[in-house]
């Protein structure tokens, strides 16, 4: 009798689970890795100073742009209720250059971003994107090979299952962005100044 009861419980669980599986609402994918990277991005804003003219143009907003196939899903949702450097943070998403050419308005909108996250889908268009924003004080962030060498400013890497980041401070200075020493110190690699003591371990 006990055995039959147990089997019934197993079957009931199986049916329940299977039915749950079919009724699940498809939430946008929010991988843990990108939840963490989103929080890093939020922290980056606190440790970067933009030129006064860029700040003056921004209407007390910090704009994060995401271009390409967005891996963040809802990861930035909690920022709705948070501020960075006393400013409200807004997220703007831009379609992949693979799929369509950007309109003039879209290019302007990208140039107004404080931080532009270039998704991996844009690897082939990376240099084109970087060239289009290089004179507009945009902090260019991504997570792909040779990102810094291609003109990106902060690149995410995974090391020992943890998120680390690298900085190209030369490009940052060209973009008139002042990256504070704490961020440089925590970076795994810094191209440009302060490379000698970038990592105390």
């Amino acid at each position: 009798m006990r055995f039959q009861t147990y089997i019934l419980v197993c079957l009931f669980s199986a049916i329940l689970t299977a039915s749950t599986a079919t009724e699940v609402r498809a939430e946008p994918p929010v991988g843990r890795e990108y939840q963490i990277k989103a929080a890093f991005v939020h922290n980056f804003i606190k440790f970067v100073d933009w030129p006064k003219e860029k700040v003056a143009d921004s209407n007390n907003l910090i704009t994060i742009g995401i271009i390409g196939k967005d891996p963040f899903g809802q990861a930035f949702e909690p920022l709705k209720n948070k501020q960075a450097n006393g400013k409200k943070v807004i997220i703007k998403r831009f379609i992949s250059l693979k799929e369509s050419k950007l309109s003039g308005d879209q290019v302007e909108a990208i140039r107004k971003c404080h931080l532009l996250y270039v998704c991996r889908s844009e690897k082939e268009q990376l240099k084109k994107i970087i060239n289009s924003v290089k004179d507009y004080n945009v902090l260019i962030v991504g997570d792909m090979n040779n990102f810094l060498e291609s003109g990106g400013i902060i690149n995410f890497v995974i090391e020992d299952k943890k998120v680390r980041f690298e900085i190209n401070n030369i490009v940052a200075k060209q973009a008139k962005l002042d990256i504070r020493s704490k961020l440089l110190r925590l970076a795994k690699k810094v191209i440009g100044e302060e490379t000698s003591d970038k990592k105390e371990n």
Binding site: V24, I36, F40, H42, K161, K162, E200
Partner: protein, 664 residues
């Protein structure tokens, strides 16, 4: 019912369960929980974010301040800087954890004053249970190689509802390193000695490789150690002494292998453990005791949708724990060659709901058999074996509410030999700015193991009720303070009882109450950790644990423990970590006249210092460390915390150690 019919029914049951599991193909072990609570990451500093893992998600990993448990996390960096040699050293850094012995040389743990080594603390490595199934124990001294540990999470409270068997008072969850690139190789070696003899020597190798969605790793370890270099005087309470420094009398050996394969959503892990030690038999002779364990786990994780994670898991364990050859005495001889086999199937799902809510749930089924053709101590229906099954289903919901994060769940378990248990769990956690609070109510259980049943077929499960409260403050980006209080009451505790022969008995109740404090400071290369814990025995009616004349104490463990670890870096790549642990006075049985004679042992301070040269000579290749343990050569004894027939056994004198780790 005949034996043949029993076997047939068991096999049929196993096959049916496996079929059901493979049909629905749903299971995730608790270590696979995915928090998916992005909001919590936004409350973290950069330094905190850099400590968060992306691979294996766990609610407590991502939101330690709001996790529905009291948790201590010890990282690889902390282990390396502290110079910890084994789990005994590591657990000294954990509030409420102490070490005693369970047969000379076999060290076990107590949690919050209560001897937990038999069936009350679950030890996991990469999600695989390492406890034996004979007594549900684990041996902590010179056993697990520390060089391959990536992190240890220690749940200092009950984990029965989610983890099941052996998690009544705590869970020790060890995660090993994994390959980060193609042909990732690490080799390490260590040597340590006292003024009289070597204390430990070992070599550990790690090979891992990773390409696309395949990774493979092999950990191999061999260690030979001595658990003391001193003489145990009157160790058997009736006059016998043994020089444990001579003739390998305190020898411990630990060959250990852990092999893992991940291929997409499929994973396979094998652990082969050949731990052994020498121990004196009371009044007779030294004998070799072995703890062999072969474990294989297969797991398939199926992401059904973006919100529903599903996996299947099957584990087989074959063990020969606490085995020893024939020990001769005046009444004849005694030996233990008992083996055990355990088959585990588990079903688990994890479902994320919009808004940061999460539901996990599953079913688990264990078939366990212990037997010995030469030993007549395991009699059941005329056979030299004990067999039983555990079947359980469980679930837990994590909900974000305006009043805080609410966790509600439980487990219903059926032990076919000893009865059923239901253990609910309820937790409310809330972070308000820099402050956080946790209120947790849990029931937990311990089911009888093979030998509990063999010695006493009428043994019942024990049941525990635990209340925990924690308050904390993130004082700054660098400093976190937490304080907690707990109250534990164990009903029908299963206790080893010796009265001419060994037996296990359900006593009426025991328990403890106390406080724990932790202060963690991290800034740049400076790390300071201060922990303090205190317990008071409450309602203890177990004579085997009690101290005559002091109802506030339990045998073997100090009421107060304080540890201070300070790691500083005076120059690049050099880390100096002095540490000390204070133990208040402890009670031990030291002699036997017409009855047991108890002594109060003085309080002790054990002091260590470790020097680590990281990236010595060659960047990201070579680490060298030197350490001195028990600098002031204190006489610190390990105590058997129940009336088992042994007096305290001396710990080692001052130890000097050197180790090298090289990464290719």
């Amino acid at each position: 019912m005949s034996l043949k019919h029993n076997l047939y029914t068991q096999k049929l049951r196993l096959i049916l369960v496996l079929l059901i599991l493979s049909t629905i193909c749903v299971s995730v072990y608790p270590s696979d929980w995915d928090a998916n609570e992005p909001g919590d990451f936004f409350d973290m500093s950069l330094e905190e974010l850099m400590d968060v893992e992306v691979g294996v998600a766990s609610r407590k990993k991502s939101t330690q301040r709001e996790s529905p448990g009291i948790v201590t996390v010890i990282t690889r960096d902390q282990i390396q800087k502290s110079g910890a040699r084994d789990l005994v050293d590591i657990l000294r850094q954990v509030p409420g954890f102490n070490v005693g012995f369970d047969t000379v040389g076999a060290y076990g743990v107590a949690i919050r004053g209560i001897w937990a080594n038999e069936g009350k603390v679950l030890v996991l490595m990469d999600g695989v249970e390492l406890n034996d199934d004979m007594y549900s124990t684990f041996q902590y001294g010179h056993h697990i190689p520390v060089d391959i540990i990536d992190k240890i999470e220690i749940m200092r409270g009950p984990g029965s509802a989610m983890y099941g068997e052996s998690a009544e008072l705590g869970v020790i969850n060890i995660t090993t390193i994994s390959p980060q690139k193609k042909d990732d190789i690490q080799v390490s070696t260590t040597y340590s000695r006292t003024s009289k003899t070597f204390a430990g020597k070992g070599v550990t190798g790690f090979y891992g490789t990773k390409e696309e969605d395949i990774s493979f790793s092999v950990i191999s370890h061999y260690e030979q150690g001595n658990f003391t270099d001193k003489t145990a005087v009157n160790y058997d309470l009736v006059g016998s002494s043994v020089d444990l420094d001579e003739n390998d009398n305190s020898e411990v050996i630990s060959p250990f292998f852990n092999i893992g394969l991940n291929w997409g959503n499929f994973s396979l892990r094998t652990i082969i453990d050949r731990y052994g030690l020498n121990s004196p038999w009371p009044g007779y002779s030294m004998y070799k005791m072995s703890f062999y364990s072969d474990i294989i786990e297969t797991k398939y994780r199926w992401p059904v949708t973006d919100s529903l994670a599903v996996t299947s898991r099957f584990i087989y364990k074959h063990q020969k724990p606490w085995n020893y050859p024939s020990v001769t005495y005046s009444g004849g001889s005694f030996e233990n060659r008992i083996t055990s086999d355990k088959y585990t199937s588990e079903v688990f799902f994890s479902y994320d709901i919009a808004g940061g809510h999460n539901i996990v749930g599953g079913i688990a089924y264990d078939e366990i058999t212990g037997g010995d053709n030469t030993h007549t101590g395991l009699l059941e229906d005329g056979q030299n074996k004990v067999s039983y099954y555990n079947a359980s289903f469980y679930g837990e919901g994590f909900f974000k509410t305006p009043y805080g994060n609410l966790t509600i769940g439980g487990r219903q378990v059926k032990h076919n030999h000893s009865g059923s248990s239901f253990v609910p769990r309820l937790a409310l956690t809330k972070a308000i700015g820099d402050y956080h609070v946790k209120a947790i109510f849990s029931k937990a259980y311990r089911n009888p193991s093979i030998m509990n049943i063999a010695y006493n077929p009428n043994i019942k499960p024990e049941e525990t009720t635990i209340y925990e409260l924690e308050a904390g403050k993130q004082v700054s980006d660098n400093l976190l303070l937490t304080a907690s209080v707990f109250d534990i009451e164990i009903s029908d505790p299963i206790v080893y009882f010796y009265s001419g022969t060994s037996n296990y008995v359900n006593f009426n109740k025991t328990g403890s109450r106390g406080v724990e404090f932790s202060g963690i400071y991290k800034k740049d290369t400076t790390n300071i950790s201060l922990i303090y814990s205190f317990y008071n025995a409450t309602d203890n009616e177990v004579s085997e644990y009690s101290v005559p004349g002091d109802g506030d104490s339990l045998l073997g463990f100090p009421s107060h423990k304080l540890s201070l670890y300070t790691s500083v870096s005076p120059c690049k790549n050099l880390f100096i970590t002095p540490s000390l642990t204070y133990f208040s006075s402890r009670y031990a049985v030291t002699d036997y006249g017409t009855d047991y004679i108890y002594d109060k042992l003085d309080s002790k301070i054990l002091t260590n210092v470790s020097l680590l040269f990281k990236d010595a000579f060659q960047k990201e290749r070579l680490d060298m460390s030197f350490a001195i343990y028990n600098i002031f050569d204190e006489d610190y004894d390990f105590i058997e915390p129940y009336l088992g027939g042994y007096a305290p056994i001396p710990g080692p004198s001052r130890v000097f150690a050197a180790s090298l780790m090289y990464r290719f």
